[in-house]
């Protein structure tokens, strides 16, 4: 909602309030000011000029040489406008003047002729879009006068971001009423007395067939109308609030709509078949309708139409029809001022995709009792500015007439809800200040009559808000609630997510957050099978782009996009993780299943951003991501339901986007908790990533269900441990991990630690063999183990390894 301060001051004094103060007061009343704009800034130096003579430019066909009078001076100006002529009063920008678009006027030679300034068009001065020629001002004006004075251009525009409840302030008078509240004045509306049309004296009829959709319809007839441009003051106010002047009749209906908040429509009376207005829905054969923007609109049976005796002539409250539009030839008008059902108007405007200033107001609700005032105002202006005569009488159908709403307001309730300590008199005083009638019924109960223009006030609590607003939110006390103390239960999933995040940041990963919607072709890019359940996604009906068309069923694609983006910006060493929801389609009309998953990716150097002085520039590999996964599971202390979580190399059972030979399934018995792998070359190519990518996908919610390893104290060892190493030569196809598993499987009580510390193949090792070096630590809780005992254990292990996997060994002793 836009208005100018000059317009506002027609109804109320705004003296003593500068534009910024006005904006601040309105904002604090709930009319949030979005912009305060000084209008026509930078035109101070523009003055009127009179063209004395016009000659052809000797060196250019389209230019003229003019003698221009500016006050006492006469100066030569080269002009290219088609409408320049002797006697014309226009505007000149003299050398040194800067135009609103930044263009600076200089004394110039144009094709050899001196020009001492520029004659300006409306557009060049930023006043309107008119650029057909230079400005043509009132021929009685003298030259040399400041243009801002002549055209009354000193003004400020204020734009309010109007909340949907305050339809009463979609009008300058409504804003004035609010200003009256805080400046303690009363407004002077332009119309104070309105004749009540009773249907007599007119030669047309109005029938409302849909009273639910049209609670009130009033119409009057005007004759002898002369269509012409509006006077400057009217054009100026419309342009200042962003409306284009059309002609006097259209401009007046727009002006009164902005003034009163009541949309009006003028029909060409001679085009009304049967001299009748029928408010109804389309009939079966009325399927399309041409609106005044010359577009065919498809009608649906529940749209409300304004019709004559034969056919629709307007979409009620939304847009008029082309055929009944006011044209230059129009001499007789039917002026409509009506009230329509907000929901119906909103639906229609939506379906036709025709939001308009009129529908904006109707769908928020107009004051049904304000209809006649607005019509009378328009009639008076038409008589004044379009030479019209009004036909005495008119029609006013008001099937939806209701008594004004009366509400009881409990003052105690006001104070309870606001935390204030107001008296009945204070509360009544605030309400009366904004034209609300209040009767004190005693016992702290006020009877409030809600004025018809405040359609948003329906309940006691709405009045409480009015009081709060008028007291001022910042004047209401600030207290803290007294509520029973409690330390609520904490969501274990949220704690798990936080813990996981802190572990992975400690491991050198940055957290990513991606959009929940992705491109559907990600599934193809990852080569998912046609029957892969992850293709069962939730699709958006109205996505912004194809890239964001479906809800994600996995996190990896988003992270691959992140890798590509980072590489494009020279960030090639990447460790990212994301914890986020994925969405699985369940059935039409049913909410999808939402589940938290975890995904981490690694690519580039093993130690990103680490100092090469100390760290190798080795590339990251599958052991890094496996290690990260192990660290996570260890820190979380999760234990498989089966007793142990295993990392299973299973080339037979892999994801289509993971290299089989690099795939590790993280298993709890038969249940897969997650997967580690290297992205296939093909998938990497699809995501335009040229370097190796390792990833970890984990079902985070599955981890939540797993038993935890209790934190339980064990006494510190009292006896020393003994370490033995084994270097074993085994066939190359034996997984080194299997040797380790074998040691653990022995469950020799005194083995407290075992690990692999070297794997080597190549010379001097025989071909087909590799050396695996293991270390085993023995300790007893009862005594110091002697060499003989340890040797016993150790030999047992070594023999088991040899017989189980074959090969030679040598033993090292520390």
């Amino acid at each position: 909602m836009k208005f100018t301060l000059s317009w506002l001051s027609e109804y109320i004094s705004i003296e003593g309030l500068n534009p910024d103060q006005m904006a601040d007061r309105l904002t604090m009343l709930g009319l949030e000011v979005d912009a305060v704009q000084e209008l026509y800034a930078g035109l101070d130096a523009i003055v009127t000029a009179k063209v004395i003579s016009v000659q052809k430019h000797p060196n250019a066909d389209r230019l003229t040489l003019c003698e221009v009078e500016v006050g006492d001076e006469t100066v030569p100006v080269v002009c290219g406008a088609p409408n320049v002529r002797a006697g014309l009063i226009t505007a000149i920008a003299r050398p040194g003047v800067c135009l609103p678009d930044g263009h600076k006027i200089k004394k110039a030679k144009v094709r050899g002729e001196v020009s001492m300034g520029m004659l300006c068009s409306w557009r060049e001065l930023g006043i309107s879009e008119d650029h057909a020629g230079i400005m043509e001002l009132d021929s009685s004006l003298a030259s040399g006068l400041p243009l801002v004075k002549v055209l009354d251009l000193i003004d400020t525009m204020i734009e309010i971001d109007l909340t949907p409840n305050r339809s009463d302030c979609a009008s300058v008078l409504g804003v004035a009423r609010e200003v009256a509240g805080f400046t303690h004045q009363t407004i002077t509306p332009p119309v104070t007395e309105t004749p009540t049309p009773d249907g007599s004296g007119v030669d047309f009829t109005v029938t409302i067939e849909e009273p639910e959709l049209c609670p009130r319809y009033a119409a009057r007839k005007l004759t002898g109308v002369v269509i012409k441009p509006s006077p400057w003051w009217l054009q100026r106010q419309l342009m200042a609030v962003g409306m284009r002047p059309i002609n006097n009749i259209v401009d007046i209906t727009n002006f009164v709509m902005l003034e009163y908040g009541q949309p009006l429509h003028a029909f060409d009376f001679q085009k009304l078949a049967g001299k009748a207005i029928v408010v109804r829905c389309p009939r079966g054969n009325e399927e399309t309708f041409t609106t005044l923007d010359d577009t065919d609109r498809e009608l649906s049976p529940d749209m409300l139409m304004i019709c004559d005796s034969d056919k629709p002539i307007a979409v009620a409250g939304v847009m008029g029809g082309l055929d009944s539009e006011v044209t230059d030839a129009t001499t007789e008008l039917l002026l409509e001022s009506a009230c329509f059902n907000p929901v119906s108007i909103r639906r229609t405007a939506r379906i036709l995709n025709l939001p308009s200033e009129a529908s904006y107001r109707f769908e928020r609700g107009v004051d049904p009792n304000g209809i006649l005032n607005a019509m009378e105002r328009a009639v008076q202006l038409m008589c004044e500015l379009a030479d019209a005569q009004v036909v005495t009488g008119g029609v006013d159908k008001y099937p939806g007439k209701k008594d004004l709403l009366k509400l009881d307001l409990r003052v105690q309730r006001v104070n309870e809800l606001l935390g204030t300590d107001l008296t009945s008199d204070q509360v009544a005083g605030y309400l009366r200040g904004i034209e609300i009638e209040v009767i004190d019924k005693g016992e702290n109960i006020l009877q409030v009559t809600v004025p018809s223009f405040r359609i948003d006030i329906e309940r006691e609590v709405d009045l409480v808000e009015e009081i709060a607003r008028l007291v001022g939110y910042n004047e209401i006390p600030t207290t803290l609630p007294t509520i029973a103390m409690d330390y609520p239960q904490r969501d274990p999933l949220r704690l798990l997510r936080q813990k996981t995040g802190s572990i992975f940041t400690a491991l050198g990963f940055f957290e990513a957050i991606n959009y929940s919607f992705v491109a559907e072709n990600h599934f193809d890019m990852l080569a998912l099978a046609d029957d892969d359940s992850r293709r069962q996604c939730v699709k958006l009906l109205n996505p912004l782009t194809e890239e964001q068309a479906v809800m994600r069923t996995m996190l990896l694609p988003g992270m691959l996009e992140n890798i590509r983006r980072n590489i494009n910006f020279q960030q090639t060493d990447i460790r990212l993780f994301e914890i986020g929801k994925v969405f699985s389609f369940v059935a039409e009309g049913v909410l999808p299943e939402e589940r938290y998953q975890f995904c981490a990716v690694m690519s580039g150097a093993r130690y990103p951003d680490a100092n090469p002085l100390y760290f190798s520039s080795d590339r990251t590999d599958v052991y890094d991501i496996k290690g990260a996964a192990q660290s996570l599971l260890q820190s979380l202390r999760v234990q498989g339901k089966s007793g142990v979580i295993s990392f299973l190399a299973d080339p037979e059972n892999v994801q289509p986007y993971g290299e089989p030979s690099f795939t590790i399934r993280i298993m709890d018995g038969d249940q897969e908790l997650g997967i580690i792998s290297k992205l296939t070359r093909k998938a990497a190519r699809e995501f335009a990533v040229k370097q190796d990518v390792y990833f970890l996908e984990l079902d985070l919610e599955a981890l939540l269900d797993l038993p935890r390893i209790d934190k339980a104290f064990g006494s510190l060892p009292r006896f020393p441990s003994v370490k033995r190493d084994i270097a074993l030569l085994v066939p190359e196809n034996v997984p080194a991990g299997a040797l380790l598993q074998d040691i653990i499987a022995h469950k020799i009580e005194n083995v407290v630690y075992a690990d692999i510390f070297d794997v080597y193949s190549g010379k001097p090792i025989d071909e087909g063999m590799k050396s695996v070096a293991l270390t085993v630590t023995y300790r007893s809780d009862e005594k110091t183990l002697d060499d003989e005992t340890v040797d016993g254990f150790h030999n047992k292990i070594v023999h088991s390894l040899m017989s189980g996997f074959g090969g030679r060994y040598r033993e090292g002793k520390e």
Partner: protein, 335 residues
Amino acid sequence: MENELQRLKAEAEEALHAIGDKAALEEFRVKFLGRKGLLSSTMKQLGKVSKEDRPRLGKLANTIKKGVEELFQDKKEVLESSGGGIVEDVDLSLPGRSLPFGKLHPVTQVMDEICAVFEGMGFAVAEGPDVETDHYNFEALNIPKHHPARDMHDTFYVSDSILLRTHTSPMQARIMENQEPPLRYIAPGKVYRCDSDITHTPMFVQVEGFLVDRKVSFADLKGVLSSFIHRMFRDDLPLRFRPSFFPFTEPSAEVDIACVFCGGSGCRICKRTGWIEILGAGLIDPEVMKMVGYDPDEFSGFAFGLGVERIAMLKYGIDDIRLYYENDLRFLSQF
């Protein structure tokens, strides 16, 4: 013998004091403390003294030797630590050896901070579905179909009745439906609106909060939100409450803080007003209460919602909201 020992001690102390470099120190060590040094040779003489004197003199000799050794060590350390930090092959001006570490996303960091403030005030944290029904997202919040307030929500639809939640407010209805007051909850989560430009991303993160009990007032709302903002930013940050409109609160408020960029004097970011909007709030509308079966005359409460990206933007000075979800390491590593 005793004199000899005392003389050696004095001589050694004097010599040590005069030493200024490592070579001289080594000479000293050989001369006094070496296996064939003066102290050792003197101590070998102990066998020749009388039996009665031997324990006393032996003890003395040991004490002296130990004392000289200590002085020698001290001198050695002094010499090694001087010389501008360059001693042997340690160059302490080199950078420390630190393993790379990552960071949480700035939105997560700010979210955790927000939750911590409210959890400190006893609020519980709850989360709801991102894909929501029209009922919870709109109807239960007093936003019927064809209400102009739906214009404030550019909604992504999955079907007629299912959509991506446009705010975290549905959690108000979901929780109140199943529990009795007193209630104190915050509900963080992702929300979606079909709008994308320099100030809007189609997905963003909100935190909804509400408190319901007997006799909860607008003054209480002001108190809790003022505490929150002061803990989140700084205690003397000016803030103001002003009227606004949300269909599910009445009265409704928006809260502004003094512009953190210009300090309130007016700049481009605060549109010259000196204030920046930070959250929306209000007393829970009686209609919302009735729909979940509460008696609005018995219970009252307040609700609020805030955008996490916006708070991160204000705290860290991020000027382009789209950066949040590109996951550029140059961005993520800054926070």
